[in-house]
Assembly symmetry: C2
Homo-oligomer: 188 residues x 2
C-alpha cells in the first residue's frame, strides 16, 4: 500500500536496525483517514474469500480491525489481554511478547467465536508472529476457521510471516520491511 509506505518513511521513527515506531499515525496517535483506507485495501485483498468475522487483539489492533470490519460489513471481535471479572465462559491462549519480555494470557468469550465463524485475523505489526498464533489458537479452540491474516506492517527480516505461511495461512501485509540499514527502510 503505497500511501502507507510513504507515511512510514515520512513519520516512522527508527530505533537501531530492528525497531520501527509508528506512534505518530497508528500505535498511539491514529490517523483515522489512513486507517480507514487500510480497511478498504484489506477488503480488496480478501475479496474472493468468505469472511463473516474480523478478529484482532487489544489495544493497537482495534483501530485497523474496526476499519476492516466496517469495509467488509462484518462484526469485529477483539481478544482481551486480561480476563474481565464479568466474563464467565471463554477461550484462552498464552502469548509471549518479546517487546515486554513476558507471557500474557489473551481471551475471547465463547459467545463471540463459534464453529460457524470464518475469521480474518488482523493485527498492526508482525514480527515473530506470537500474537497472531495466539489468535489462531483461540479460533481453533472455538472450532472456527482462519480464512486469512492481514497485517499492517510486517518485518520481513523476522520469522513471523514464514511461521504463519508454514501453518497454511495466507498472509497479506500492507507494507513489508525487508531491512533497516543506516537509518533507511527497505521495503520488499
Amino acid at each position: 500500500m503505497e500511501l502507507l509506505k510513504q507515511r512510514i518513511v515520512k513519520d516512522g521513527k527508527l530505533i537501531g536496525d530492528k525497531i520501527l515506531k509508528v506512534d505518530n499515525f497508528l500505535n498511539h496517535q491514529i490517523d483515522p483517514a489512513l486507517v480507514m483506507e487500510m480497511g478498504k485495501e484489506f477488503k480488496k485483498r480478501f475479496e474472493n474469500v468468505e469472511i463473516n468475522k474480523v478478529l484482532t487483539i487489544e489495544a493497537s489492533g482495534i483501530a485497523v480491525g474496526m476499519a476492516v470490519a466496517y469495509a467488509l460489513n462484518v462484526p469485529l471481535v477483539f481478544a482481551k489481554k486480561q480476563v474481565p471479572s464479568t466474563m464467565s465462559d471463554f477461550y484462552t491462549a498464552d502469548v509471549f511478547s518479546f517487546t515486554k519480555n513476558k507471557t500474557s494470557t489473551i481471551c475471547v468469550s465463547k459467545e463471540f467465536l463459534t464453529p460457524e465463524d470464518k475469521v480474518l485475523i488482523i493485527d498492526d505489526f508482525l514480527a515473530m508472529g506470537n500474537a497472531v498464533v495466539g489468535l489462531e489458537e483461540l479460533v481453533t479452540k472455538a472450532g472456527a476457521e482462519v480464512k486469512g491474516i492481514g497485517i499492517v506492517v510486517t518485518k520481513g527480516f523476522q520469522e513471523g510471516e514464514k511461521i504463519l505461511q508454514d501453518r497454511g495461512h495466507r498472509v497479506e501485509s500492507l507494507a513489508v520491511i525487508e531491512s533497516i540499514k543506516d537509518g533507511k527502510i527497505n521495503f520488499r
Copy 2:
C-alpha cells in the same frame, strides 16, 4: 441516539440493577456500522465547537474514538494504561477503577498532546467519571483545552455526569440510563 437505545434494549445484558453489559456490539464484539454512526452523531452534537484532536483511553474507547475522529477529520490519540518501554517523555494521571477495584496510571506522550490542542474527550461508558477525569488531567498537564466530552452510555444514576458538568464541561451522551428496575432499562 435512537438506534443505540434500541440496540441496548435488544442486546444489552443486565446484571442486577447497576450493571449493563454491551459486549455484544461495543465492548468485546463491535458492530462497526453502528459505531461509525456514533461518530457522525458526535460530529453533529459538537459541530459548532473547534476541535483538532480526539482523546480516548485504551482499549474500549478506541473504536468509538476512531469513528468520531474520522467524522471530524482530526487525529485520535488514545491514552495508554501502561507506560510503554519505548516511551520517554509523557504525562500521567492516576485512575481508580471501581469495576477492577484498583488504581492504574494512564499516560500519553508529550508529543501527541500539546498546548495548541482543542480536545474532545470520548469514552464508551460514564459512571463515576474517574477515567474521564484522568483524561482531563492529561489534557490540563499538556496545557491543552478540553472542548467537550462525548460518552456512548452514561449511567445517569451515578455521579460522573454531574462531576464533569460541575468542572465546567459540556457532556454529550448518546444514551443516558436513568434507572434499571425489574430487568427494564429506563432512559432519560
